[in-house]
Every structure is written in C-alpha cells, then in structure tokens.
C-alpha cells in the first residue's frame, strides 16, 4: 500500500459537533495554561508535560469515540484524559498531590487515569502502552463488545521496540485499535528528523505493517475528527488497525524543566500561527457562528478551570494511609502473613 492520505475528504462537520470540538479544545488549553501557572506558584510538584498546542488531536478523537471505547495515552496525557470526560477538579488535585486527586496522590501528572470514562491510563515509559492498547483491543475483539482502543503517542515512540511489536501484533491479529502518532517534531529535546531513518516517523513506516500511510494536519480539529471517525469506524467494523501520523507542535518545552530554547524562532512563530484553537475559532466565525456563542464557550471553560483549581487548592493533602493501599485487589499491600 503506497497511497498516502494527507488531506482526507472532510465532510461538512455539523454545527453541534463543531461547537463540542471547540469547547473541548478551549477547556484543554485553559487547563494546561492553568497547570503551568500553578507550577510557577510551586503548587505543582514533580514534573509535568503539557500538551499546549496539541489539543485538536485529543478533541477530534474524543468526540468521535463511543463512551465505552478505550483511550491509552502518555505522560503528556492531561488532555486525552480530560477529553474523555474525566473530572477536571480531580485531575488538577492530582497534579497538586491532594487527597481529592484522581488517583489520591499515588499517580501524579504522568499517570492520570479514569477508567469509568474509558481513560485507561497515562503511561510514562515510552512505548509501553502500545502493546497494552493492543491487548485491550484483543479483549474487545474476543468479547465481541464492539469497543475500539485508541492509543496516542509521540514521534519519539516510533523508535522504540514496543512500537514495532505492537503494530505487528495488531495487524496479524486484526485488532480494533487505532495508533495515533502525535508528531510534534521533537523527541523530548531533539529534532525527531535527526534521529529517525525516515522523514515521517509513523507514516513512512506504515507500509512495513501493510497499513495505509496516513499523514495529516494535527492542528486542524475538523481533519482530526474526520480521520478519527474513519479509523475508529474501520476498527469497529472489523477492518483492523490504523496508524495515523498527525503533525502538530508543542507550544512549550518537553517538560516543566525545559524552556525549549533549542527551537528556531521562525519555526516557533510559524507553528504558533497555526494554533489549533485560534484557527478553529476563526473557522467557526467564518461559518456563521456568532461571536457571542464562541465567547460564551470560552467564558464557561474559564469558569470550569477556575472551579477545578479552587477545588484542588482547597483539597487536603494526600493521606499517608494511602501508601499501603491498593497494591493488591484486596485493597492492601501485604506480602507476608
């Protein structure tokens, strides 16, 4: 299969869907922005990896997913987790190490998980969650549940062995899984092109697995929604896995510690001009959606983030009782009698 899909035919996305996509993107943007501000206040400890600039991918897929589909994401996973409907307050509280955090303080920023909403975890060892997502898809396949697993990962993941093992197995077993590479051009601090044998780390390798090569604009929410519908639909219909490479850009550094000085100014400027949130706002206005309605979405998102922040700030610190809870399914941590 040598065809490459770069611009999937985007059908006119209906108005409610567009408003939903915009609302999600604004919420994710505001959440990450607030998380950054809370770092500066030294309220968020440890590390954190923001997805500012990558919101269209999370939103496009989340809106296209069925409520019981599975999301697997990386340590840069706040957006993917929230996009499935996880509590913003619980996420913020987890970043702050509070007892009312999503994981009661035991996971932190890199492991946000909300199984009730299909957010099956944020995995912080590069590549690990690709085989795990394939496994959830295998389970869905044999249970004939119709569920699809969607697995998001960065460009750097394409160079680790688990990527290859997962892709190969998913194709051989024809699993209902969609692999979405968020190519933000940098493997942590290093340009991905300088450490990868091919120009497009996922799309150029798709043919190795007999898959269609899909390289798309990850900063366009309509394009993302469309490719999500197509790839999820194919998986759900028994047509097997897809590998999508969505081009995008991190507005900030790799993590809290990284000011990202290694990126050329011209490149940063060019990508900021393609900001998925601003771009979509303009598209909504051009499509005749009133500015008041757009403003209202933005105001409500701010209010939601404010409320979540307040709930997190006022939460009690995580309790030390948690330390020896939930190693095992009996709720405890006993290893001896």
């Amino acid at each position: 299969m040598s065809t490459r899909v770069e611009k999937p035919p985007v059908a006119e996305v209906d108005r409610p869907t567009r408003l939903r996509l915009y609302q999600l993107m604004v919420e994710l943007r505001d959440f990450e922005q607030r998380a950054y501000e809370l770092f500066l206040e030294n309220l968020v400890r440890g590390t954190s990896h923001l997805a500012l600039g990558q919101e269209a991918i999370s939103a496009g897929y989340a809106v296209a997913m069925r409520a019981d589909d599975y999301t697997f994401c990386t340590y840069r996973g706040h957006g993917h987790t929230l996009a499935r409907g996880a509590s913003m307050a619980a996420a913020m509280a987890e970043l702050l190490g509070r007892g009312n955090g999503m994981l009661h303080g035991k996971g932190g920023s890199m492991h946000l998980t909300d199984v009730k909403h299909g957010a099956m975890g944020s995995y912080a060892i590069v590549g690990a969650h690709l085989p795990i997502a394939a496994g959830a898809a295998w389970s869905a396949q044999v249970r004939k549940s119709g569920q699809v697993a969607v697995c998001f990962f960065g460009d750097g993941t394409t160079n680790i062995g688990a990527f290859h093992e997962a892709l190969n197995l998913a194709v051989v077993w024809k699993l209902p899984v969609v692999f979405v590479c968020e190519n933000n051009l940098y493997m942590e601090y290093t340009p991905i092109e300088s450490v990868t044998a091919v120009k497009h780390p996922a799309a150029d390798r798709a043919s190795a697995y007999g898959l269609e090569s899909i390289l798309i604009d990850g900063n366009d929410a309509d394009v993302m929604y469309e490719i999500a519908r197509r790839t999820i639909g194919q998986a759900r219909a028994g047509g097997g896995p897809s590998l999508v490479e969505a081009l995008t850009y991190r507005h900030g550094g790799h993590s809290r510690a990284d000011p990202a000085k290694y990126r050329p100014d011209t490149e940063v400027r060019e990508w900021l001009s393609r900001d998925p949130v601003k771009r979509y706002r303009e598209r909504l206005l051009a499509a005749g959606i009133g500015e008041a309605e757009v403003n209202d979405i933005e105001t409500r998102a701010q209010q939601k983030v404010d409320a979540a922040t307040e709930e997190a700030r006022t939460g009690a610190p995580a309790t030390v009782d948690e330390i020896e809870r939930q190693v095992w399914s009996d709720g405890g941590a006993a290893w001896r009698n």
Partner: protein
C-alpha cells in the same frame, strides 16, 4: 489420584481453568499446535481452539503488554514467556506496567494475569537459558511469585494463580517437567501463600524452592543416616510469603538452612534470613546458612553446571558441617 508428569500437570491446570472460565485465554510463542517447546501445554490448542490458545510472534513486550491490556478489560490471560531469561526483554512491561498500574491508579484496574515461564538450570543450556530469576520478580512490589516443586502443586498452584485477581509470575523449573507424581483427581486448586512442611525433624529446618526441594529432601535422607533429623519446608510461594509456617518450623529446630538455586546476592533466602534474625533471633542455636549457586552466570558444561548448583551432596555436607 492419577500419576502425571509435571508438564502434564501444567496442561491439566490450564485446561481445568479454561473449562471453568471462558475468560481464560492462553498466548505465547509456539504454544498452539506445537504445544509449547517444553510440551507443557500439549492438547490445549486442539481442545480449546485457536482463539483461546493463540500463537504470538517472538515479541515478548507485545505478549505481556497484550495480556495486560486484556486483563485490564475483562479477560484472565495466561501468557507464556518461553524461558525466564527472556523476561529481561519485557521487564518494562512486567516491572513498570503490570506490577504498578493498579497501585498508581489507586485500584481503578485489576490485572488478573498469569505469566508462566520455564526457569532455572540443570539442562546444560548455558547462562542465557538457565537462570533462576524468581528474585527479580520478588523484588518488585505488585507481583506475586510462585514456583511449584511437584506435579500436584504445578496443577493446584497454577489453578490458584489463574483465579487470583492480581498478577502472578509462575516459575516452572524446567528440569522438573519430566518428574512424575500423584495429582488429585477432579478439580484441584491450592492456595497461594502457603508453605508446605514436607518432613519434620528436630535438629534443623531446611527451606527450599522448586527444583531445590527434592534435593533438600534427598539431603535430609542422607542426614538421617548420620543421626541428623531435618525438617524440610517447600516455600512454594515467595509472594505472598508464608512466614508464619517458616518461623514456626525454625523456632522448633533452632537452625535455618536455605537452599536456593539463584546466584548468591539478594536471593530469597537473604530476605528470609533477615526476617528470621529479626523475629526469632533468640530461638536460633546457630547461624543461618544459605546454600546457593555462586554469584556467577550459570556455565553450560554438565560438570560445571552440576558443581555450580546446590547438589544433594553439597546440601548434605553443608548442613552436617554446620551442625557438627
């Protein structure tokens, strides 16, 4: 009671649980029509079909990752890693993902997963196909670790591991596969975390695991001829660890010897020695003695391998020398 080989007992344990629970699936390399390279799963493919007994590529990360993802979402998978040495190729999956995800998500997921693997030496396969690696697993919070020594336990403990709601690494000592023994008829399920007292004596307590257990028993026979009466305990499960039984038996005899196939450093016997020293120091009549493989990669040649692993003679002489 039927007499089964250890390998037949493994297959019987899996079959018993696959029959009982349709959510039990079994994957691994060459486990399908081939019946496993150690022939420990012969007949399962024919009986349960290619969906429930499924061959994988040589992709240990994919095997464990897929089993984990499936375990998180409703299946009870059994994943085979052909040789325990290959656990190194998927250790991220086991130590970072399988072991920690329940804890990190504060119990949002359970991972009822069994990883079966052929472990240990005695087959002249050399240092990359003979390691005794139960201590690797024991060192990681979130993993249960089981290693049977008899066909009956192979079936009963494997069934218990499959029913357990948490991840279990199930070490099958490969030199035991051909050993025969009585296995109870009908459904047979043991409990994880119970050591078994195989022989009661008054002079010392020898604690052993897997293939070292029959050697400890044989040594006890030799020692009996010298008038030394040894208790022999089969640990069976390192996590959870039945310290109650072991401490009780050590208190009765006042002496502890561990027989470990693993290389010296950080073997399970070291943890046991620490617990015994902490909790029944005053009951000890002499030093705790660990009998292990030296701290070397296991050599291949028969004379070297046999001399490296704890032998019946070495156990006998060490205990005799220490009690003299």
């Amino acid at each position: 009671m039927a007499e089964l080989s250890f390998r037949e007992a493994i297959a019987a344990g899996i079959a018993q649980e696959m029959e009982r629970d349709p959510m039990v699936y079994f994957i691994g390399e060459d486990v399908g029509a081939a019946g496993g390279v150690f022939k420990a799963t012969v007949g399962l493919f024919e009986r349960f079909g290619p969906d429930r007994v499924r061959d994988t590529p040589i992709s240990e990360q994919a095997i464990i990752g897929a089993a984990m993802g499936a375990a998180m979402t409703g299946l009870r998978p059994i994943a085979e890693i052909m040789f325990s040495d290959f656990l190194a190729t998927c250790w991220d999956m086991i130590a970072n993902q399988v072991a920690k995800t329940r804890y990190m998500t504060d119990g949002q997921v359970s991972i009822p997963l069994v990883i079966r693997t052929a472990n240990g030496g005695g087959t002249r396969f050399g240092a990359q196909h003979s390691q005794s690696l139960e201590n690797w697993a024991m060192a990681v919070p979130g993993l249960k670790v089981v290693a049977p020594s008899t066909p009956a336990d192979a079936k009963g403990l494997l069934a218990a591991a499959i029913r357990d709601p948490d991840p279990v690494i199930f070490f099958e000592q490969k030199s035991l596969y051909g050993v025969k023994g009585e296995v109870p008829d009908g459904e047979h399920v043991e409990r994880l975390g119970e050591a078994k007292v195989l022989r009661e004596g008054s002079h010392c307590t020898i604690v052993a695991l897997a293939a070292m257990t029959p050697r400890a028993l044989a040594a006890a026979q030799n020692l009996a001829a010298d008038g030394i009466d040894a208790t022999v305990v089969d640990v069976r499960s390192l996590v959870p660890l039945d310290t109650r039984t072991i401490l009780r038996e050590v208190v009765k005899t006042g002496r502890l010897f561990t027989v470990e196939e693993n290389p010296r450093l950080c073997g399970w016997g070291a943890e046991l020695a620490s617990i015994v020293a902490d909790e029944c120091f005053d009951d000890l009549d002499g030093p705790i003695v660990r009998i292990t493989t030296p701290h070397v990669p296991l050599p291949a040649a028969d004379v070297l391998e046999d001399a490296a692993m704890p032998s019946v003679e070495r156990i006998t002489q060490t205990v005799r020398g220490s009690l003299r």
